[in-house]
Each structure stands twice: as structure tokens, then as C-alpha cells.
Symmetry: C2
Subunit: 229 residues, 2 copies
Amino acid sequence: MVYKYDLEDKVLLAVDCIIFGFDEEDLKILLIKRDFEPQKGNWSLMGGFLQKKENLDQAANRILYHLTGINDIYLEQLYTFSEVDRDPAERTISTAYYALINAKDHENVLSSDFSAKWFSISDFPDLIFDHPEMIEKAMKRLRRRVSTKPIGFELLPEKFTMRQLQKLYEAILGTPLDKRNFINKINSLDILVKLDEKDMSSSRKGSYLYKFDTEKYQQKISEGFSFKL
Amino acid sequence: MVYKYDLEDKVLLAVDCIIFGFDEEDLKILLIKRDFEPQKGNWSLMGGFLQKKENLDQAANRILYHLTGINDIYLEQLYTFSEVDRDPAERTISTAYYALINAKDHENVLSSDFSAKWFSISDFPDLIFDHPEMIEKAMKRLRRRVSTKPIGFELLPEKFTMRQLQKLYEAILGTPLDKRNFINKINSLDILVKLDEKDMSSSRKGSYLYKFDTEKYQQKISEGFSFKL
DNA sequence: CCAAAAGTGTTTATGATACACCCATGA
DNA sequence: TCATGGGTGTATCATAAACACTTTTGG
């Protein structure tokens, strides 16, 4: 016998994605002009609806791919927003996800075919519904996460300089950090590889490039190491 | 003009509550025998369905009140579980909440009218669906939260001894703590009031009772104080 | 030769941990 | 008087924070 919950209310379940990027200076979010009613033409997070055949993680990935062409990035569920009037068109619950991408690597993907645009986290346009609240919550989560998991690296290209890494952390935490202390701390974690290669674009002297060592990190994790920055 | 998202799939949205309690020794969770199909008669978290007219917080409170008679307790959204097959009866998404209650104060409420029962967090029966996963996640969250917010006090009666508080933290963190260091740390936070009253039930000497000072805590928070234990 | 960013260690302060004895009381 | 849990402080260790000068090289 197959049971059903026939008497219960069903609702629309949306997924909205806060996509963070970093461009050497500023933390950014990716927004899109909504192309359907209500609020067509206004700025919005990347969103869509959960389909019956997929779970929320899959929906978030699908929506992201569909709206930006971006695939296979760090994505984490944030919170489910459920105010009765949050969407004036119809009762809609929305589970927010936040994502981290390396903006450089996806520049081409994000080109003209898609109407998504980057905005500084400290200066973005008015958004529909409760999207500003979602961003605020994502920002808080990112700030906490970044000091207990090395997710910051998701926002950088594969090879990066210490200076870039520091600027990223400063942008996320919203506070300046001491150069020497920062480098000492990072080095003491022992999860980066220093390359024999220099980035000559930022100074005459050039600065060494580093790579995040995923294997070493996994190794350390399995030995009970805990990331703390 | 009123817009509708007519072509999108609608789903059932459930709410499941992990209710933590503490009984001087052990951290406990409140479970219930499910009284509807499928899996009728099996142990389950407190659950129900979101109704159109309420948000998730309200639904969690309503469900809790309906199943246990308990009202007005600490309740926090945890995560939304959405595996396609999580409920074999029908596609159902579930947002999990966790709650902290002082078991003593609610003993009577929880009496025979309700079929809810306390189980030790380290020894509870098989549960339906993905409920074990929910509990695990709630446990992890509780462990983290308890060291950045004074939510532990929600699990204790209004007046409590230092020993009780310590045992609670030990139960939550799963590790023994040093008595002197613990008391020093708590005292340095300066958010408790030591009463002139002693609890004589646990020893001949008796131990002083304390109260959590909500006002002082709020005061400190507004001054930028951050709880860290 | 100089402007601009990179690289590099030590000292100090703060917080965390380890640790052991006396006290009060009812039985 | 003794068994039981309650209460108390200090020394050490580890981590965090403050801090300034030298190096490189393209223009």
C-alpha cells in the first residue's frame, strides 16, 4: 500500500544563490536582471524553483549553470526563508545557497550570453524580495566559515600570491591584517606549496606564487588537524 | 495584475524538531511514536507539515506545542533536507529545527497525554527516514553554538549550580572539563548572579545557586562583548 | 638612483591549561 | 570522625599581536 499526505498544503520551493567572487581588491556578488514577472527587470539573486526529480543541492547547481554557465563550484546551503509574504505573487519558500567562484576563471563563461553582472558587496543595487537579507546572512556565514575551513581558496585562481590571499581575507573579514602575522599563520598551517614561479604583474621585484595543496590538506584533516585562522 | 508561477512543481514542506533536554547527567532528545502512515508506530522526531498561512518558525512552534504542550522555548532553524527519496510515501522536503528545553520545568506538560519520550543522545532507538542524520547535524550545531552563545542556559532550570552547568557543558561537548578552569572562565564572563541560596540536595555542604543575568548579558552584547567559552 | 611592492623575526601580551588542598556538613 | 562533594589560586605554556627594516628591479 502506498500512503500519501493528501490533506497537506503544498508550496513552491525556490532556490536562490548568493555567488561571491573576488577581483584582487573587492569582494563581489553576482546579480541578474530578473526576466520574468513579478518584478521583471529588477536586480535579483540567481534563482529558480526546485523540481520534483532533484534535491536542493542539485537544483542550486542546475540553476547556477543555467543562468551563468558556471559548473562545479563550492556551494553550501545557507538558510530557508519562509515569510508568508516574501514573494507577493504566490506563497514561495526559498532555500538560499551561497557559492564561491574564482571570477577570473569564469570571465568568458560569464560573457554576453548571460545578463549576470558583478557588484561590489559594499555597493549593489536594490534587490527584490528578501534577497538583501539573504546576502547579509551569507556574508556572516562566509566570515565565520573562512576561519574554520580553507574555503577562501575557492575565490582565488589556482596560483596566487600571499598578497592576494591576504587581500581576500581582509575583504571578507572587513578588517586590515598584519602582513607578517598573516604570512606566519598561513605558513604554520602548512597547506600551501610555494612555486618556483613569480607573478611579475604587481611589482618590479615580483612575488612568489603559491598553490593550495589539496592532498596535504586532506591528509592533515584525516589526522585530526583543524584549520584555524 | 497578479502573477503566478503556474508551471512549477509544488512540494510538501515538513518541519522536524530535534528537542534537546538535560537531566543532570545526560543530554537527551525527545522522540515520539509516529501515529500516521507510513512507518506508523516507529520512533520519530517531532514533525508536521508547513501550512500556507505560517512561516517555518511558526510551524515549528505549532508542531512542538501540538505534540508536547511545550511553548516558548529556544528554537533555531538547522538545515533543509531534500533527498528525493527521503520519504517513501511522497516527495517531501523537511526543514529541521532544534530546540533546547529545561526538562524539569516541562515534566508535567510532557505527562501521559503525550506519547513523547526522552532518550539519551548516546542511546536512542532506530528512527525513520533521515532523522538520525538530522540529529547528528543538530548535535554538531549545538556543540558549536554553545561556545559562542550562552544557549546552554536554556537547558537548565532558572537556578542552577556551577556543577550542573559544568556537567551540561561536558555532556554537550563530550569531554570532561577542569572544575577550576571552568568556573574561572564562567566567572570572567560576568553574566551570572550568585544567589544567597544553596542547593542542599547534592551534598552536605550545599552548593550555591546561580542565575543567568539576561539583562547584564544584553547590556554586554550591545557594548560589543562576544561570548566565548 | 629611486619608487614601489616583497620579504623576513623577535618581543610582548594575552589567554589556555595543568594542577592539589582545605571546607562544611550530615550521618 | 569521616565520607562526600564544594570551593578556591597560581605557575607554566602556547598562541596572538605588535612592530620596522632590507631587498629587488624597471623606469
